[in-house]
């Protein structure tokens, strides 16, 4: 290969600082979006399993809108088109008034997008709890809220821990799309380094290793959680 390796470039000033700050922004965007995605997604997912037609309808429309348009396109629409739909003063405030407009736009976009996916997971979790349990709970005289609180949700959430972990890792990785609206997160910073130094392979290797490292930590934690809360009687990971 016709390439001059230069690993030390990664720890020279200012590039090392860029990587650290990029990782910081990645974690900031991912965690802030996850708060939106988890709560909004759970709410929408639960709405989609209720018997109330209006709630059901709202939930369905939400999921269909947000998951059927590519995230990259949504990012663009939130950043460049959404402010134009507002009254002029509000639009200008979104564009210039708020501190860190690109950060908050990315968080809202990523959060609302992932919420549609979390909603599907939550719904799948709840519906895979056998219908008999719902009837049994009702027969015991539990109110709808109690049926969810004490029966469906505790079981449903446990079942979807593996795919929910995937969603969390997904939000973390998708946060790299924030670079398209100018958030200088990890991927953006490594691209910066490649443009400045033309040492692309070193920069991308760093990004790859850091992504793997962070997700490895998350997965290890989630596997411990999954084991601790496993329900006896379900086919489980290390059965037999």
């Amino acid at each position: 290969m016709n390439y001059n390796w230069n690993w030390p470039v990664l720890i020279t000033d200012p590039y090392f600082g860029w990587i650290v700050s990029g990782l910081g922004w990645t974690i900031a965007v991912a965690s802030a979006s996850w708060v939106i995605a988890f709560f909004l997604g759970s709410l929408i997912g639960i709405m989609r399993t209720t018997e109330n037609r209006i709630l059901l309808g709202i939930g369905t429309v939400y999921v269909e809108i947000f998951r059927n348009v590519p995230l990259l396109v949504q990012m663009f629409l939130w950043y460049f088109v959404f402010p134009e739909l507002l009254p002029e003063s509000a639009g200008n405030w979104v564009k210039r008034g708020i501190p860190l407009p690109e950060f908050w736009t990315a968080v809202v976009c990523l959060g609302t997008y992932t919420a549609s996916r979390v909603a599907e997971q939550v719904r799948a979790g709840i519906t895979s709890v056998s219908i008999g349990q719902r009837y049994a709970a009702k027969a015991m005289g539990l109110k709808p809220f109690q049926v969810y609180r004490y029966v469906l949700l505790p079981v449903g959430y446990r079942l979807i821990i593996p795919p929910m972990t995937s969603e969390f890792l997904g939000i973390f990785k998708n946060s790299s799309l924030a670079l398209t609206i100018g958030v200088l997160e990890l991927t953006a910073q490594t691209r910066q380094i490649e443009e400045y130094t033309f040492q692309g392979f070193e920069a991308f290797t760093t990004a790859t290793v850091l992504y793997i490292l962070v997700t490895f930590i998350v997965m290890t934690i989630m596997q411990i959680v999954e084991k601790r809360v496993a329900i006896p009687g379900m086919v489980s990971l290390r059965a037999k």
Partner: protein, 294 residues
């Protein structure tokens, strides 16, 4: 006898020419692989108007692309492969170096600035275009020089030489400028035209290109002095002086004969998008200086 001698000399000369050609090809790793595969992999940008962009027929075209075709014609002659196939490989600013380093592309035709840092990884052919960082702003905004941006917002494309230039000047002059980072030139333009930023900084040729393609070209202006010097060149792989010299010869010939001016005018004066940029004095001088004799 004379006839036979003449024939023999002719044959000898022919052999000599051929073997020189073959030797040249054999000693150049890039020419050798092109000859063996019967294919040249031409890297090109896709929306860098008017240097290299996808035309309505889906094929790359532009000023840099035309120059590359001239070089490929010469490669056909040297490798003795008149039917050499051209394989177009689209590249971005992120992939161009990696693709050149791992041998996927044999030359890159786009709008790449030749600078000394980058020469650690790739080689360049002679400079074929000269530009530099300038500002685009709305007419009547009162922004003429970078100093006018104190306390205002400027959009910058991530990782460009323009970003470096603006930040350096702002620091030197102690200007308080707010930056909005964007992914590429059209988004920078959108940031300016939608009022997210008061100005957008880029290579002045690209700014003229963006204005000529915008909906209201009359509303915008390109202003100020040059804040950086950006000479563009065609990139070739490193460690192959025979191959690089071939490209240099082709471009020097075009510059000496003046043919490069014709190609230039086709794309810039006025050019398909009406960009209207005659050869600048600096570029004219650059053409003259680089027109080395044989």
């Amino acid at each position: 006898m004379k006839k036979i001698l003449g024939l023999a000399a002719g044959v000898l000369a022919l052999v000599a020419v051929n073997s020189a050609g073959a030797g040249e090809v054999d000693n150049s790793p890039v020419l050798k692989r092109i000859a063996e595969r019967g294919v040249i992999n031409m890297g090109h940008r896709e929306s860098s108007v008017p240097f290299a962009f996808i035309g309505d027929d889906g094929k790359p075209q532009g000023y840099s692309v035309d120059l590359c075709f001239k070089i490929i014609d010469e490669i056909k002659k040297v490798t003795n492969k008149p039917d050499l196939k051209i394989n177009f490989v689209p590249v971005t600013s992120q992939t161009r170096i990696a693709l050149m380093a791992n041998g996927t592309i044999d030359l890159e035709c786009g709008s790449t600035t030749n600078n000394l840092t980058r020469q650690k990884q790739v080689d360049y052919l002679p400079v074929t275009f000269i530009t530099g960082t300038k500002l685009a702003s709305k007419k009547g905004s009162g922004i003429n020089e970078i100093e006018d941006l104190d306390g205002k917002v400027i959009a910058l494309s991530l990782g460009t030489t323009n970003e470096k230039a603006i930040k350096r000047v702002a620091k030197e002059k102690g200007l308080n400028i707010k930056y909005v980072m964007v992914k590429d030139h059209p988004q920078g333009w959108l940031a300016l035209s939608s009022g997210r930023a008061d100005a957008y900084a880029s290579d002045h040729v690209l700014l003229f290109g963006l204005i000529s393609k915008s909906k209201n070209p009359g509303d915008f202006q390109v202003t100020g002095r040059f804040l950086s010097y950006d000479p563009y060149g065609i990139m070739v792989p490193q460690n192959d002086s025979i191959y690089r010299r071939l490209g240099t010869v082709v471009l020097a010939d075009l510059m000496r004969s003046g043919e490069i001016n014709k190609i230039y005018n086709k794309w810039f004066n006025p050019g398909p998008s009406n960009i209207n940029m005659p050869v600048s004095d600096t570029l004219g001088v650059a053409f003259e200086i680089q027109a080395l004799p044989h």
